[in-house]
Amino acid sequence: MPSVSDILETMDYGPAPEAAGEVLKWLSARGDFGHYINGRFTPPGTTFEVRNPATGDLLARVSQGGEADVAAAVKAARAALPRWSKLSGHDRARHLYALARHIQKRERFLAVLETLDNGKPIRETRDIDVPLVARHLYHHAGWAEMLAEEFPGQGPVGVCGQIIPWNFPLLMLAWKIAPALAAGNTVVLKPAEYTPLTALAFAEICAEVGLPKGVVNIVTGDGATGAALVAADVDKIAFTGSTEVGRAIRKATAGTGKKLTLELGGKSPFIVFADADIDGAVEGVVDAIWFNQGQVCCAGSRILVQEGIAGTFTERLTARLGKLRLGDPLDKSTDIGAIVDPVQLARIRDLVAQGQAEGAVLHQAPCQLPSRGSFFAPGFFTNVAPANIVSEVEIFGPVATLTTFRTPDEAVELANNTRYGLAASVWSENINLALDVAARVKAGVVWVNATNIFDAGAGFGGYRESGFGREGGREGVGEYLSEAPVKAKAESAPVTLETGPVPEAPAGVEPIDRTAKLYIGGAQKRPDSGYSYAVRGKGGVIGLAGLGSRKDIRNAVEAAHKAAGWGRATGHNRAQVLYYLAENLAAREAEFALRLKSAGSPKPAEEVATAIRRAFYYAAQADKFDGAVHATKSAHVTLAMPEPFGVMGIACPTDAPLLGLLSLILPAIAMGNRVVAVPSQNMPLSATDLYQVFDTSDLPGGVVNIVTGPRDDLAKTLAAHDDVAAMWYCGSPEGARMVEAESAGNLKVTWRVQNRDWLGAEGQGRGFLSRATQIKNIWVPYGE
């Protein structure tokens, strides 16, 4: 050890290791771990090794869960469900409160264990992960207490299968378990195979606080265990992890009726404008991509800097990079710990090498890597072309890309030039600019002049291929509640489409022959196929409708994208259009009723009258269904803004040809979406009659597009379309399964709409509006 005199010369920090003795003692006392099922640990089965990534040392052997283990855990959770869900909110709150308190009492133990298992610095586990875990449990103790009052009529989903990643093992556990338990669900959780240890310690804490057995079950294992859990008899799957696995889960759960939330990958932009606090932004990069070794789904991994300050910014970023300390994660002065596993390290190395081979220039911290363990020196790339692999692919390591932009428009364009949409960070001292960009960037979380700030009171989750669903806040609790059940009604079977001439006398005689075309971009278009099909009413054929095809869907989606201004219009503007639509529909009430009557609708007049009322209802909601300011940290405004998805696909029921269509498209457009709708396949003429109503109601072209034809074929094209952000489908179970499976391509949000009594109260409501929006949380710290 150097003397005080020596140190006075070097002024080094010296070692400051956190002791791990207590935790190692616990690990050795426990021996091999089994699963935690029904309130106790099973005997260890086939085990796999869990190693400390900083040293390669063996920490524990943990059981590989198989189908039988998963089934036993699900059975235990199922058995525990009735009692747990019937406990009063207050009683569940007491349990969650006890868990929160015990996390705090074990905070150092859990921080050390997490650091050993994951390799992240003790500074982070101690100051960030574990405090956030406790905060999450406290917050949700509160939701449990208030559940009945705040979410009237809603109940738990049931047994939830939860699969969590290795980057924030205990924190992701808390994000999953706390809301599930608060809402009265029971859970089976599978921690990541690299990092199962804090979950197992949490299992002991569950026992320690007297949580009823079976409420929380923990099954360890690898991806196969996760797949078994997805396939098991659970009511919901909540997954955090890679987009690739998320896609597989979307496909696997398609048509099963399992509720699904996915929190997936990202390639989040970190936008620095010329008027930003450059030093603040440089420090932001440290908290963005050099946090947790860059193994952060919402990491600001694409740094976009305005040209004028790029030189200064890069210089200061390089200087700051040089100050990072890499090494023993247990050392209190370590910034960069170990990569979670040698497999991940190899992946990072490969991607970085490939990025360099494709021409990017790597700037890396000049730090000495330890002789053993999985370490990677942090850095960033310059000279990165947009098509370079490191521009597109999530590296999931401590390496960002740095590119420049010229104007705010270009910054937004570059920011949104990604398949992901998890988070964004915007740096500017100009509040107009910062909030404008925050509004325009496609991301579920936006931090203004900050990055990676988390709180249980705010929702977290992505747009686009970063997944769907939110964790945290009111919106997160909603993901663990089932809506009041709708009284489902079987719809009429879709008719076979006859495209040849029908040599029958027409059921009704039009004074002049009418041609119902498609409605695309505000104009009537012939179907690309050149075919029409016969629409039969009560007494026979009542007209012909265009036979839409994939190409018409393509054109309709393009037209919908061109109408983006609709999403930026005020709620008041949209309300005016909807009121006007109601007015014009009312003017032609008799004609629409007659058409429905000729089609054989049971209550034609009532259907039209209800459609008019519905337009009034959504006009009323257009400027009222708004967001919230979440109570998070002091001196932070955290805005939860419902935003439209953009372009939505809507496949309508065969019944209620007018009201079924309007009940679905009105809430969607009221919130600012543009829709491509496939109306009732059996009776599309009520929809085609609406074209003139739309035209006379100042509805901008492209906001509503209607393609008539075979519903499930057209729905399949829509569900598979990568530029459609959400899809509602009302139809058969097979159709719903198809839509959910096809949606995996871009992970669009899907909603299987039950056919229902569209004339009744279940035909409208806030539920439709929340399905038509996604919540963006914008964090604005303030202070002078």
Binding site: V4, S5, I7, K323, E429
Partner: protein, 324 residues
């Protein structure tokens, strides 16, 4: 340290100042929450333990302007302070640390106490710093403030801690501020000039940056946070912004400016915190008394207790240490 790569900073050359150049600070952006976050996590990202902690605490003493600035200061009180400055640590602690001699960086007093301090410190090599220019408010006619500098220098002060006219900052009257500090620098002559910005009165971090830059442009050798008499004295966010200002000045001119936080720092923990800030933001050169001073009085007592604990393994009592 980055500045070094850009310019070859000359270690010994005094800052001669540059003409007032508002371009260097007019559009400065300082985001307060971001600065506060950085300041709050500086000391959670770094720590020193055992021998290193001891060394860093000794270094804090080497960089300390041991200060008495009270209305009831007397020559005897100042002599006692000087004795402590000569020997801030008891011999037994020094021996335990394996060190021969440690002194504080300077002693800081009112102008009328300078001659007493100079005599008391004769032969020690410890410079005497004097506050001047109507400390602490500075609201005296400029000619009297300059006369006070001349008096203190004449009494033997080698360092002059001046206060600026806060109104010039609050009004954005940069030329008035520049002229005032430049005149003070001239009056100080060979004595080093430490410009006290009284950041607690300036309120915004942008004001702090701008005042720092004007003081350096006018020729200040050091920039200093506080008199110790404002409502809020040295804080880490303010120090962070000043450190970045002097980094930027160095990058533009090649001259190194010193930094002195003062007021409100009472504990050994504070001493470590500010040194971490210096090392992280500026580098090791700003851990030496020629570029870094801690303006403090009671902090020394806490450091001495911590160091005795380091040497003996027993928690210490201040009654066993010589009073300052």
């Amino acid at each position: 340290m980055q500045a070094e790569a850009v310019h070859s900073l000359s270690r010994n050359e005094r800052n001669p100042g540059v003409p007032l150049t508002p371009d260097w600070f007019d559009h400065i952006a300082v985001n307060t929450p971001a600065a506060e976050r950085r300041a709050a996590t500086l000391t959670t990202r770094r720590t020193v333990k055992k021998e290193w902690q001891a060394a860093w605490l000794v270094n804090a003493i080497r960089c300390m302007d041991l200060t008495t600035l009270s209305g009831d200061d007397t020559p005897d009180r100042v002599r006692r302070l000087c004795a402590k400055a000569r020997q801030p640590l008891a011999d037994r602690i020094l021996v335990g640390l394996g060190l021969d001699r440690v002194t504080t960086g300077a002693v800081c007093v009112y102008p009328t106490m300078v001659s007493t301090a100079v005599k008391a410190l004769a032969g020690s090599g410890i410079p005497v710093a004097s506050v001047a220019t109507g400390f602490p408010a500075g609201l005296m006619p400029l000619n009297l403030r300059l006369a006070e500098i001349l008096y203190a220098v004449d009494q033997g002060a080698e360092e002059i801690d001046i206060v600026i006219t806060r109104a010039h900052v609050l009004d954005g009257n940069w030329s008035a501020l520049y002229d005032e500090v430049a005149a003070m620098r001239e009056a100080a002559g060979a004595a080093h000039l430490k410009a006290i910005l009284a950041t607690g009165d300036l309120k915004t971090l942008r004001n702090v940056y701008k005042a720092s830059m004007v003081a350096m442009q006018a020729g200040a050798d050091f920039i200093k946070t506080s008199t110790g008499k404002e409502g809020v004295n040295a804080t880490l966010p303010v120090s962070l912004v000043m450190a970045r200002a002097l980094r930027d000045y160095g990058a533009r001119t090649g001259f190194r400016i010193g930094f002195k936080p003062a007021g409100g720092m009472k504990t050994a923990k504070d001493a470590i915190a500010w040194q971490i800030l210096m090392k992280e933001e500026l580098g090791n050169d700003w851990l030496r008394p020629d570029l870094f001073r801690l303006g403090a009085s009671s902090m020394l007592g806490d450091i001495e207790r911590q160091l005795e604990h380091h040497v003996t393994g027993r928690y210490a009592a201040s009654s066993r240490h010589a009073l300052a």
